[in-house]
Structure formats: structure tokens, C-alpha cells
Symmetry: C5
Subunit: 354 residues, 5 copies
């Protein structure tokens, strides 16, 4: 079951303790750093964040990516080095945060959830990603585990594709967020396909397992929805934010990002509506099938019960049953029975039962 | 299945790449230009946008219409010639945009969806239309494919009907948007007729296929709804926009347009409510039918099972069954049976089962 | 089917063409004028609006009522005479407007829908009424057809009842609107009675036609609702309007009008809720009835099928069936059967099936 | 049926006519006056309002309570004496007002509905109460009929309990409103108990009448809800009102009153949710019962129909049926039947049908 | 049944009477006091609040905790000693308050509900907790009964863990509120587990009791929801409050608290959605089961009724039934029956009934 709430581990803690509360506990901390500007790019993998820079060079964008939040000491040191408020450090390691933006004066702190599909089970997986945009063209990103949706951005940085190498750390933040939201669409597309399959099978022949599938998609959408509504708020706050850390020319891109976030919500809501419709359709076709079954039973019973009764009559052993001795008694009984069946069939035909 | 989300093609792209993401990929770019004022009108078909004008003459309205977004080069050149921000060019070719208005200082950028009915399948088709209203009385429109709802406006321009020839490019934008929204009503009218047909058939004789029809209309309405809510926002923003590009005298018309957009939403919501009602009606009449079928079965079974039992009794081969030897035994059995049937019928009649 | 959208006629028109789009096409234009102040009243019926006045006398209230919108020429002339913007003229003849208030500087333009019950079918009929309140104590009203809810106001004017003769054209507007909204209550009262009848019959004996009645009332309420929500907005705008055309002393009355409009909405919403409740009740009582029918069937079948089987056993023709030759075999079989039936009945009694 | 709309009587009236529209038409007007301050209290019963005071003494709180609104003349005189605007007088006698607060400069006009339970039928009764708080420490209350929820306040006044004798007319207004809202809780408590009873019976043994009870409670709640939402608005407006008539020290009490009004709404909404839940529970348990009935039928039929068929086989009169002449034929048939029944029972047991 | 409304005891009271209205009536008042700063901590248990301090020392945080609200005298004295407005004292003892924050100038008054699980029945219990944050670093908390969720905070105070000893009374308020809200998550986690169990059992084998469990969880959630929505408002008001009692450095923590309150609401709403889904699933699987039962019955009946009829035919005693004398008559009848059964089975197989 997907967690809809903070874990027990998190609850026992006093506020202010920076202990990781997620489930990726055996991931070692890994620091990667990409420094670039229009003319150069270098990728480093320092042992710890403290080795990344002394004073950042504003002419060069520094992107520090940290995978693995499990080593409390390392995270604490990182927080101290980056001069982060202890509550921010807590928010980074206490995963299951609501997506949000916090303006911390000299830096912006953005927490979102990255969705992906488990390639095997096709379940939705999610991971918390924290962004810290600092003065001096520095962007720090924290992830729970290696493996992310940022590879495309790295590729573009290396190959100097698109605008990203010509812009600052704020544009890099946009590009990474864009990659995160694009991944939401990928996840939703897979849901779209599953709904389509269910629709087709429903039209064809509804079977009970479809309902559990519908329910399970509904549940996953509920989970996505919980991430996506606050995501929209956070991106909206980012767009409207008046911090100097965001350049004017980047705002237009952030508005675009906001449009995408709304489109994600629209799609999730449409899917929910469609699933309701699909479920109604299932229930009605179930009602239809029961009705069909009932009709078959009723037709058979209504035709045969009366004539069986007649057969029963002439199976009685009374001494005196005059009809039994008629010459054409047997034929007459058959005739009566056939007439009765014909009347029944005509009745059902008029009622359009078959 | 109608796309409720951006296509996979769009997702792989780095932000900033202006590659067409729709499905009308084999449409060549076609540029048409209509220049007019109160006294003259000329229709040109230049090979490329670059040939349309050097400096627009503010005394003449220039309407440049571009069909086909598939040729990335041509679109890029067009964007450069019109001095459009690269994000705007992307929005034009990345169809599946949410309808929106963007105020780009020297120009207004409006994206909407044009709905039409596939004349064969009666499905809803949609196409993205982008409007750029620029200084110098210039309106540029981008469409995914030829064939549009603007023919009426062109006709009025040619024949100098109505006010359109006496007004500027902002009024032309209004007239074209009015044509787009009027087409929504045409689409909705066809839905209204389909709902009416379903209603009539429901009252008459509900059959299972009606439900799939209801579901399919619901789905199409969901799709329209997704276009229409942001359309209202965009038209509202256009009305309230304080740009110099919109003359004061045009605002009254835009308010009218806004009223129409609200009326479209009202109608869509009413249709949704009506479909819910129709579906409830279907389900209840299904329940009624099952109830009817059950009653037929129960009446037949309740009448014949007991008397068949009596016939069974006197079909037994016991040596000593005194009744079998009575003179009027057979007649007495018939009498008993007829009385039992009469009681049953009276019972059902009192219960109003038939 | 009630129209929920603009008619096809309206769509083909270029914006700005003042052609009547309603269905009351054979109504000739009829102009009536009532001039009054505290001391005098005169009723005139001029051939055309142009003959009504040259310069209105502000000391006298002029109420010009125009029935019939079908004669485009006459309407156009009227519009010109009253110096109405062409869009206003269009709104007057394009019926199916959303109720709205427009402040046109020297005049106020209010469009609402007047509801009435078709006296024969008890269906809801609706007609668009436009009010133009102008400087110089002039109120112009446009109706689609003769026959209105204003007769009571005319009567009060003639007999100098109430306050209306002591007040200006703005109060007359209030009095007429009050008559319109009061008529909504009359229509709603008839719905209330129909719902009450349905409720009583449901409690008594639910029959399938009730559902169609519920659906049809729902549909009519949907239609009323579409008129009534924007009506509230329009009346609210009228109350808050700061035009000099509305005297301060009239505002208190308009607030009262607004209260009434909200009460109409409250009532419509309550009726919708009640209809949902009634429908749920119908469906559940249908379920109950099916359950009852099933129980009858099951009781009969469960009692007779086993004993019929026993009768069948002793109807077999095996050479050796010892029981057949017992002296009290027949009586014993009856005893067994009666015991079985008694057990069954006890079982059903314990299950409270009857 | 509870009235959800203005009565027919009210509709025929011209606006401005102060004729009582409620159903308590045979109640004579009765005026009671209580004058008090910290040191004294006197209770008077003048014949008419005109006799109550010439100029109120601001050092003494004057509470004038008028029961019975049916005497148009008396009410008109009262209105004139109290210098009430004619619309206010109309609002007082036109019961079925939406609860509201009106700030009339020198006085505050508050209309609410008082709910009570009919002690016999346990139905909700309601009565309109109007409050007029005037300068000079005067509070006038109008009721449709004698018998109210104010007796507790009168008692406290007489016995000088609580704060009420130490405070002004604004606190008296609060104390009376508090009594009105407290009575809402009493009414709701009775609903809570009825819902609790229904719940318990549902868990025990659902029977069809429960549904009508649920529907009837729903309907009453709908009625309460219509009074209670605008009541909250009115009390909120009273709290925020900046009139000098309300002393600063009373505002804290009004905030408390507002909290109570919200709590009433919360409770009504919770009850609605609970009733929906109860209704769902009823419907599902109905489905369960039908399922149970079906299972009994199916088990009996499935067990006996096949073995009855076998008995039928050996009841046939063919000349040559070898089995009939077997020595252990009869026993073999029994054996076969018992085996078949055992298989059936095992099948049903595995399906967990019993 | 959980109380959704004020008790009868509360209603009879005049406003302003401070009599405890909860159900924990036999709890003696117990006062505990913890005084601490960075360097020292002392725990006292004075006999009454009056003994706690004369003038608080602002350098030391004083946390006075009072358990038991039943002794009206003691509470009244406490209120007087703490100089609380009588309405505040009433709010403290009138439990069933809506959670709220009131800014009383020199102090902040916060009322919330503390939830916990009854360890035996797993029902939700709730208790009202009132906080009064006063000048001079004083925090007073009132509880209905001993036993609370504050033990963790006390432990941290004693052991000087976390930040709490380094901060003022406002941080202590935050820490206590954090403990309260953390406990909501504990309660919700238990609900999450119960829903998960229900889901699993539903997928497996739905049985009727699940529905009552679903309903009972729904009801408890309804109860939690009533506490939690106003809790969010109260915490939001606390965060935005501009009182000097809250230090700037504490605000960031309060924002965190607010995030948690929203997360509680999100979780409650998600659970409600999930329960709806689970209930739909239950109802559909019930429909499926009825359908299955019907199919079994129909298959058995449809196969055996016709062949039983044939057996009945040849059980008739007509003198002349030629078939009875055929040599292979009996075998032929068997053949016909087997063919009929085969046809039926093929029909059901094609219909996918088994």
C-alpha cells in the first residue's frame, strides 16, 4: 500500500531531528557536481559536499546533485556547509513532504515529488526531490536514490543543446523541473493506455477483474493527485516569486511550466471522471447481464413448468380419468402443449425478451 | 481515443525545440494573406511568410493565415520574421496547449481549440488555432490543417458585409473568435440532438447499447469541457486586457464573446447533468425490467409448482391410496387445483403484480 | 426539448445582424405606452416607436412596451430612434441571452427570462424580456409576444395603488422585475406540488412512470436554474450599480429584489436535492420490491420442490419398492411431507421472510 | 409539506403591502414590555405599542416583544410609531424571509428563523423572529405566535442571573439570539438520536420503513439547512457590523455566537453525510439480503431438480426399462441421488454459500 | 455514538456560566508546573494555580498544566488568577468547542482537540486541550483528563534534547502542538491499516460485515474531519498572527506545523475517497456474486426442466402412447435428453457462463 501519511519513524522524532524517514535506507551518499558556462563544462564527483567549492564563481553555474539521504552525519555536514536552516535539512530528509516552495531570503527551497513507473509491476513509484537555488549561480538537488529523470538535461548540458548552457542556475532549475513534470505525463500516458484497454474490454465483455483494475487505477490516481495539486501551488509560487535569484527572462519559462502543471491536474481529473464513467458502465452492464440471465431462466421455466404440469396430470393413477382412454388423447395433449408453448413464445417475443 | 495529454513525441524534446507534435504531419505549409480596408481588399498566396510585407501599413488590415505546422524550418523562419519569442513558436507547434492568452507587450498571443464534427463518424475533432495580434494592424493565424470555420468571415470581408471591413485587426480577431465559438454551439447542438434521441428511446424501450452511447457522449463532453473552461479564461483575459492593440470600441464585442463562452460552459454543464439524469433513468428502468421478469417467473412458478405437486401425489404407486378409487376423485383434484390457482391469482392481483 | 443553446439561425449570422432568432415568428410588432406621474396617467398605442415622444418630459414617467421582435425593420428603426448600440439591438432580438445587466452610460440595459407555465401541458415556457432604463424617466421593455406578467403592475398604475405612481422609472423597473421574479415563485410552487404528489405516491406504491416524472421535473429545473443563476448576478449588479439612473431610495427595494432572487435559487437547489432523495427512495423501494418477489418465489419453490421430489420417488415403477406395500405408506408420506413443510416455514419465519 | 417558497398570498400583493403571509392567522396581537437596568425590572403588557414609551430612557433597557402579526392595522401603526421603513414592516410580516441583517443607520434589523420540535409529531416547526435594535437601548422583537425560546432569558432577567441585567440592549439581543441558536442544537440533538436509532436497527435487521425515515430526516435537514446558512451570514454580519448600537464589549460574545452558528452548520452537514452513509448501508444490506434469498433458492433448486428428474425417469411407462427389474434398482437410485446431493453440497460449501 | 453537538447540559446554561460540559466528571483538578531555561529545569505540583507564581520571571519558561475541569470553583479561581475573560473560561470548560485561535491582546488562546485511539476498542477518543500563551514566557494548558501526548516533550525538556530548552514559551507551544498533530498521524495510520485489511479481504472474498466496518471507519473519519478542518484554520491563524508573543524565529516552525495540518487533511480526504472506492468495489462484487448465483440456478434449471418434462410425458398413463412400446424407446429418450443437455451446455459455454 502506498503511504499516504508520515511513517511511524518520523513521528517518534522530536522536531528538529534530521533523520531520514524514507524506505531507501541502504543508499550511500553520492555527490556529483557539474560546473558549466557557455564555453566550458566539467563533471566532478567529490567525496563530500564540503569539497565542492569555497566561494562559488557567479560566472559559472554549479549544479551539485546529492543522491542518498540515509547518512545523517553527511547530510548534517552538507546542511552546515550550505548554511541551511535546520528545518530545511529536516524537510529534505523527512520525505513525504507536501510539495512546496520556501523563500529563505538568500536561497529558494523547492520540494517536489518525482513520479516514475516501476518497469516491472507498472506501479507508480515516487521519490522526493529537493532543490536549493542559491546566490552565486548554485543549484543543489537532493534525491533519495540514484536513477532520475535528469539524464536528458545532463545530455543537453554535455552536448550544449538548446538554451541551457547559455543561461544561469535559475534556468537549470526550470529545465530540471520541466523534466520532472514531463515525467508525470509519461506516467499519465501509461494510465491513459490502461483506461483505454479497460474501456475496450468493457464494450466487449465485462468481467469482474476489470473492477479491481479500475479501483487500483483510481487509487494510484489518488496518490498522484496528492502530489500534483500542491505541485501546482509550488510552481505558481515560483513563478510569482520576486526573488532576485530568478531572472526576468526565466519567468516566461516558469509560466510555461505552470501551464504544464495545470495540464497534469486537468488530465488527472479527466481520468478520474473517465474512471467513474467506466465504472458506471461496468455496473450497468452487470445489471444487463443479470437481466439477461433472468430472462433465460424465466423463458425456460415459463414454457416448461405448465406443460410439465399437464404431463403430471395424466401421470396420475385415478381409476377414472376419461381422457386416458380417448383414442387421440395422447395426440391431443401434445397439441395442447404446443399451443401453450406457442402462446408463451409469442408473449415473450412481444415483450422483446429475445 | 482522444488525447488528453501531450504526446510522447513532445516529451522527449528539450524545452525550446519547435517540433510539431500533432498528428497532421503530411500537411504542407500554405500561407494566405488578405489585406483590406474600407475601400479595398486583396487576397494573396505568397510562397512564404517572409514575402508578405516589409513594413505593415497601419491603414490596411493584414491577415496572414498559415495552414500546416509540420515544416519546422518554415515555422522557425516565420517565427523569426514575425519576431516571436521562441517559447511562443513552441506553443504554436506543440499542439494540445491549454487555451490561453499571453500579453507579449508588442503583441497578443491567443491559443484556442477549434472544434468540429467529423462528418462521417460524428466524432468531435479538434484543432489548435493560434492568433498573434501585432502592432500595425496585423493579425497572424496558425492552423494545423486547411479547412476551417473562417470561411464565413472571409465571405463577409469579400462582400463587405457587416462591420468587419470598417474596423481594425482587433475586430477581425473578434470576428474569427466569434466564428470559433459559434462552431462550439454547432457541435453542442449535435450533442443536444443525440441526447434527445437517447431520451426518447429510453422512454420507449431501453436497450443496453444506449448506455455505451451515453458513456461515449459523456467522454466527448469531458473532452470539450477541457477546452472550454480555459477558453473562457482566455477570452475573459482578452476582454480585460489593457493593451493598446485592442481598441475601446471593440471591448463591447469582446464582452459579448465572453458571454458566449460562458453560455458554452453552461450548455456543456447542463448536458452533463442531463446525461447523469438519463443514465439514472436507464439504470432504474433496467431495475424495473428485472423486477418485471422476476414477477413473471414468480407468478408462473407459484401457480404451477403447487398443483404439479398435487399431480405428483396421485402419480404415486402406493398400493393403498383411497382417493384414487373415489368416483369423482379426478374431478375433485381438478377442483382443488382450480381453487388454488384462483387464490394465487387473487393474491398477485392484490399485490398489483399484474 | 427545451433549447439549451442558441439556434442554428443565430449561428449563421455575422455578428452585428439584428435578426430575431426565437420561435415566435408570426407576432406583429405592437407598441404600447403608458405615461404617468402622481396626478395623471394616459395609455397610448402608437403605430411605431418613433411616434412616442420627441423629448421626454422628466416629470412624467414614460413606459414604452414593445411586443413582437420579428419585424427586423421596425426593430432597427426603434433601435435607431432610441439611439441603442447595434450590439444591444442584437441582444434584444437574439433571444436565449444569458440574463445580464449592461451599463451603457446614458442607459441601463437589463435582459432577463420570464418564466410561465403552459396552462395546458404544465410545461415551463420562457420568454426573453429586455429592459432599457434611460435618462428622462423613460423605461422601454421588449417582449417576444403579447401576454405577460405585468398586468398587475398596469392595474396598480391605473388605480394608483401602492407607491408606484409616486416614484420614477427606476421604481417602475423594480416593480416589473418584482413581477417577473414573483412569477418564478408561482412556477416553482407548481413544481413543489408535483414533487409532493410524487412523494405521496412513492410512499404508497411506487410505479415506474414516477421515474420519468422525476426525470422530467429535474430537466425543467435544470432549465430554470440556467436562467436563475445569472438572474441573481444581474439583479446584484443592478443593486450595486452606481448609475444616476437609479435613485438612492430605490436601492433598498433592489436589495429586496436581490433577496428574492437568492430565495428562488435556494428553492431550486432544495428541489433538486429533494428530487435526488425521491429518486433514491424510488430505487430502494424498487430493490425492496424485487426482494419481496424473490422471497415469494423462494418460499414457494423451497416448500414444494422437495415434497414434489418425494412424490416423484414413489411414482417410480421399480418392481421392488418396499414402502409402496406398507399399510400406512401413503399416510407416512403425507406425514413426512407435512413435517418438511413445517420445518421450512419455521426457517422462513425465523429469517423474518414473512 | 414544509414550505420552501413564498406562499401564493404573498405573490399577489403589490410590493409594499404589509399583509401577513404566514399560517398563524388567528393570533391576536399581544405586546409585552420589559424595562430593566442593574437595579430595577418591570414587566408591562400595554394594549398597543404606542403606549410603550414616549422617549426611551437610555439608562434603562426597553425590550418590547410583539406576538402575532395578523392584524395589519396594528402592525402598520407599530411600524409608524417605531419609524420603520415600509419595506422593513413588509419583511416582518412576510414570513419566509431569508435570515438577514440590515443596517438601517439608526437601527439594526435582524430576521432569523426559530426552530422547534412539534412535541407530538417530532416534526420541525419554524417561526420567523424579527429583531430591531434601536438607539436609546431599545430592542423590539416580533414573533408570529406566542410561545418562544426566550423564557430562559426572561427568567434570568427577573432573577438578575448572569450578566444580562448589567448590560445594554445589544447584549440582550445577543442573549436572545443565543437562546435561538441553542434551540437549534436541541432540535439537532433529537435528529442525532433518531439517526442513532436508525443505525442500530440497520445493523440489526434492515426493514423497508427505515428508508422512508431516512428520507424524511433528510428532508427536514434540508429545511434546517436553508435557515442555517443565511443565519451564519447574518450573525457574521452582526459581528462585523460597525454600528454604534453594538458596544465593543459585546463583540466578543457575538464572535462566540458566530462560532455556534458555524457549529450548527457543521453538525447539519455531518448529519447529511451520516445519512448518506446510512442509506448506502441500507442499500447494500438490501443487496446482501437479495443475494441470501437467491442462494437459498438456488441451493434448494440445484439439489432437488436433478434428483427429481431421476425419479421422473423411472416413473416412465416404457415397456422395456431394464433397471426397473434389477433387484437393487431402487436402492441404487437412492444411492445415486445421495451422491449427487453430496456433490452439490460440497460445491456450495466450497463456494461458501452456507 | 460520538457527540457531534453540544450536550444538553450546555444548552440549559445561561451564557457566561463556567460549568464543565464533558463526560470526564470524576477527575480531580491536578496542577503541574515545569519551569526551565537553558541551564535549569524544575517540576512542581502545587495544590492550586494560585500558588504557581506571583510575577513570572521572563527569563524562565513557566509551563502550567491543569488536568481535570470538573471543579467549577477551582477553574473559576484559576481563571481569575490568570485574569482570563469569563468567555475564555467558558470555552475551556465547555468542551466540544470548534478548534480556534483567539488573540486576547496580552495573551493568545488556542483550543484544539487531541485525538487518541482507545487501546481496547480501537475507537477514536478525543479530548479538548486549551492553550493560553501569556506575556512573561508563561504557557498554561488545560486538559480534561490526565494522560496526554505531551510526555515526549516533557522527556525532551528533562533531558535537554533538541532545541526546546533553548527557546521560549512560544516554541514550547509549537512543540506541544506538534505532538498533538503527530498523534493525528498515529490515529490515521491505524485507519490506513484497517482500510488496507478491508481492501485485501474484499479482493479475496467480500462478506457483509465488511460494509459495516467501512461505514464505521467513515463515521470516525467524519468525526476527525470536523476537528481537523478548523484545526488547520487555527494553526494558520497562529502562523499569521502578529502578536509579540510569537517570536520571529518560531514562525518558520509554525509554518511547518501548518504544512502538517494540511497533510492531515489531505490524508483524511484521501481515506474518504478510498473508502468510497472500496464501497463501490464491495457493491459491484456483491452484484457479481448475485449474478454468479443466478447463473448457477439458471444453468441447472434450464438443463433439467426440459428433460424432466420429457420424463413426465412418458410417465403419462394414456392407453395409447406408441413410443412406450418401441423396442428402443427408452434408449431413444435418453439419447434425446443427452442431445438437449449438450445443446444447452454449448449455449451456456458460448455465452461464457462457465
Amino acid at each position: 500500500m502506498k503511504k499516504f501519511y508520515m511513517s511511524a519513524a518520523q513521528r517518534g522524532q522530536p522536531p528538529g531531528s534530521a533523520v531520514y524517514t524514507g524506505d531507501k535506507v541502504d543508499v550511500p551518499v553520492r555527490v556529483r557536481m557539474i560546473n558549466y558556462n557557455e564555453t566550458m563544462i566539467e563533471e566532478l564527483e567529490p567525496a563530500a559536499v564540503e569539497e565542492t567549492f569555497v566561494a562559488p564563481d557567479p560566472a559559472v553555474v554549479n549544479w551539485i546533485n546529492i543522491d542518498g539521504l540515509n547518512d545523517a552525519d553527511a547530510i548534517a555536514k552538507t546542511g552546515k556547509f550550505l548554511k541551511l536552516h535546520s528545518l530545511v535539512v529536516e524537510d529534505i530528509v523527512h520525505t513525504h513532504q507536501r510539495p512546496k516552495l520556501e523563500d529563505l531570503e538568500e536561497s529558494l527551497f523547492l520540494v517536489v515529488r518525482m513520479l516514475s513507473l516501476n518497469p516491472e509491476t507498472q506501479d507508480v513509484q515516487s521519490e522526493q526531490i529537493s532543490f536549493i537555488l542559491r546566490e552565486g549561480n548554485v543549484l543543489v538537488t537532493f534525491q533519495e536514490a540514484p536513477g532520475d529523470v535528469f539524464e536528458g538535461v545532463r545530455e543537453r548540458l554535455r552536448k550544449a543543446q538548446g538554451r541551457v548552457r547559455h543561461k544561469g542556475a535559475d534556468y537549470l532549475l526550470y529545465a530540471l523541473m520541466d523534466a520532472v513534470i514531463d515525467h508525470y505525463f509519461k506516467v499519465l500516458e501509461s494510465f491513459g493506455e490502461r483506461i483505454e484497454v479497460i474501456e475496450t474490454e468493457l464494450m466487449d465483455d465485462p468481467y469482474p477483474e476489470l473492477l479491481q483494475q479500475i479501483y487500483s487505477i483510481k487509487r494510484e490516481l489518488l496518490y498522484i493527485r496528492k502530489s500534483v495539486w500542491p505541485l501546482r501551488e509550488a510552481v505558481g509560487a515560483l513563478e510569482r516569486n520576486e526573488s532576485d535569484l530568478i531572472q526576468e527572462s526565466t519567468r516566461l519559462y516558469l509560466r510555461d511550466l505552470y501551464d504544464h502543471a495545470i495540464q497534469v491536474i486537468d488530465t488527472v481529473e479527466s481520468f478520474r471522471d473517465m474512471l467513474s464513467g467506466v465504472q458506471d458502465l461496468y455496473l450497468s452492464s452487470l445489471g444487463n447481464k443479470t437481466n439477461q440471465v433472468m430472462k433465460v431462466l424465466t423463458i425456460i421455466a415459463t414454457i416448461f413448468i405448465p406443460i410439465t404440469f399437464i404431463a403430471g396430470i395424466y401421470g396420475m393413477n385415478f381409476e377414472i380419468i376419461p381422457e386416458l382412454h380417448w383414442r387421440y388423447g395422447y395426440a391431443a395433449v401434445w397439441a395442447v402443449m404446443i399451443i401453450m408453448v406457442a402462446i408463451m413464445l409469442a408473449y415473450f417475443r412481444r415483450k422483446k425478451w429475445f
